[in-house]
Amino acid sequence: MRDDLPAELAPRLAAELGLKPAEYEHVVEILGRTPTVTELYMYSLMWSEHCSYKHSRTALRMFPTEGAAVLQGPGENAGVIGVGDGWAVAFKMESHNHPSAIEPYQGAATGVGGIIRDIFTMGARPVAILDSLRFGTLDQPRQRYLFESAVAGIGAYGNCIGVPTVGGEVYFEEAYEGNCLINAMAIGLMREEDLMRAVAAGPGNLLVLIGSTTGRDGIGGASVLASQEFDEKAEEKRPSVQVGDPFTEKLLIEACLELLSRRLLVALGDLGAAGLTSSAAEMASRGGVGLEIDVTRVPQREEAMKPFEVMVSESQERMLAVVTPEMLGEVQGVCERWGLPATVIGQVTETGRFVVREGDEVVADMPAATLAHDAPVYDPPAERPAYLDELQRFDPLAELDHPEGVEMLTATLFDLLASPNICSRRWIWEQYDHQVMLNTVVLPGSDAAVLRIGLPGRCEVTERAIAASSDCNGRYCYLDPYTGAQIAVAEAARNVACAGGRPAAITDCLNFGSPEKPEVFWTFVESIRGMADACRAWGVPVISGNVSFYNESFGQPIYPTPTVGLVGILESVAHHTTLGFKEAGDVVVLLGETEAELGGSEYLKVVHETVAGLPPRVDLDAEAALREVLLAAIGEGIVRSAHDCSEGGLSVALAECCIAGSIGADVHLDLGAGDGAAPPVVTLFSETQGRVVVTVAEYAVERLFELAFVAGVPFAVIGTVGGDALRIGGLVEAGVAEMRDVFESALAGLVHPEETFASEELRQR
């Protein structure tokens, strides 16, 4: 056994690698001796926040994770649910915030690569990507650069591997200026019987590394970056940036799915954060076996790599397979056909120990399970932030002057339609191939994407479909994390229901500041509690997710941003529904009721430059009832269009329906009379939850009313589709063409102001 670390230096290296003194002591205790350099690297990465979830594990237990449809809950590379007829869907969301803040193009690209590998590791063919993005405001050149580059990077990767990017979300807020968020979600499709788990088994079986060579790139990349606060020092961490190779990823997808479907593998795992160490340790600990790896057998693309470098390198596009000796030839044959190296680097043992050799010399030898499972668990103190009281006390109606009259209100609506948080995202999704695989039934631009279920090219399409949406309004979460997190789930569920899907399960990506700050940690716990309560009430389990802490710059945390990715099921693809108004004469109905809830609204931000107040309330039962009415009506085939009210409120929702349908509407909203009259800004811009704008043909109005009445869902006929303008009686007069111009051109206008152009595209070769 190599003894390469003097006992007096070991604690110093441990500290440099981010191990706390007690954690180091624990390592020594496990080993019964001074660790080697390789061991220290391996432990420090496996016990980093990113890999071990040491600050979040306890809180995450609040999530409901079970349900009749759940085939695989949290703990694997991705969660899996059955969606009927023997089909299953795997999905997961993950952050790549810190790498992207340093190098947005490659950071975002490799983020997509990583989450895609999590999906096909499970045996599922990746069929969709969604991206959830947060940046500072676009008046800053740096923010434009980050935004443009991240979008280009996501596009470059997803487009190349031939997986459509079908949806996502983006917000621009000062709070993300020093720390952008790049969350990517991937969805995969498989037959239930093809579900694969990354569990190593069978002493004597071989460990085969498939894909790219191993270099020093990304040493300690994701895990180190994602486990520390982000400050000026970030610049020095630059060499850990990785360059994505989507071409190799595409070959990996094809080769691995072929290997799995031909049942040639015992197990398969992807190499993500902490590289080979994490992948191998997790597979071993799940299987209760040991492993032996010889680093000299790992194909290296750089000279003189040290064993620890090989073990923790985060070089992209690599997979680790467990293969029986008899199958090795066939496995290598498949890989060779796809142009991929497949190299035996070690084997499974029965010792339960993770042994690393450099040729004949042992450089690390530790109990495999301790890497994956013995990380300390912390329950940090949580404390309600002091700033909340004052923020929440703010009463927008009482404390501000509000626009009145058709002219001012119409102008305000236009301002909102041009707001970067509301305007059309076409500029983004037109850079993404959102149609490849020919399954995208509802394209980006509606409430949720709808994908029919069928593997491409086989004409094996089914009646069924899935709908997916990712949502989180960080501003609401800042003002009240419990409610904000509930809204994230509620909005995702509502979006999916508007498309015709019944919410089935969620994944999440919890983006927060430092968990070591009690006020941040409180927002974390509250957010989880909010999501968990909503999920439990609605029977929507959490099947996978990811935590990203230390999203801060110069001590300032981002808004709490618990992003939700929700997948729903359509029994029949024929029921897919979009938001655009369809036909003149259709009747516009509002399901749900408007309250005076301007706190945290886009209206407050755009018009009054204020982020304060209480966010809208969530009524869990009312939300569920609303979705049931909607799904029943859609199932009966009477719904022509459906669109939920979110940022910007009812007026923006109506405008979006007009723009998408290229047709106007005449709407009358009852403001009440006398003292009880609602101020027009409430009617138009309040962001009350639980509301959906639905159109039906005239004959169906009564039926929709019945459905709503029985379920106790507020129902109001508010207008008729037709004409070339949106007229909201006494409040708004807006031509559809003018609204479209503003709505569609706003984002491009913000990204390409004439005075600068610093685009990552120049850098693509």
Partner: protein, 83 residues
């Protein structure tokens, strides 16, 4: 050194830093070997930028830092000549 008023040609060579993986280079390398060029040991692909400008080396260096190269993953070399 070119004076402030004459047009000069600056040639900028931008390459990935050491240790950064270069997928296009790796692919070209494999392709060349497949075409029978067994003597090829390594291929790296970078950018070659020609700037004709009435400016000086310091300014071109600044242009590289700000726009033409990505200091996070790339390094560059500038050669000044006649336009």
């Amino acid at each position: 050194m070119t004076g402030k008023d004459a047009m000069a040609r600056f040639e900028v060579y931008v390459t990935y830093k050491r240790g950064i993986f270069d997928p296009p280079g790796a692919t070209a390398e494999r392709a060349l070997k497949n075409l029978g060029y067994q003597g090829v040991n390594s291929v790296r692909i970078g950018k070659y930028i020609q700037i004709d400008a009435d400016t000086d080396l310091a300014t071109v260096t600044e242009m590289c830092d700000r726009l033409l190269a990505n200091p996070v993953i790339e390094e560059y070399r500038i050669v000044e000549g006649e336009a």
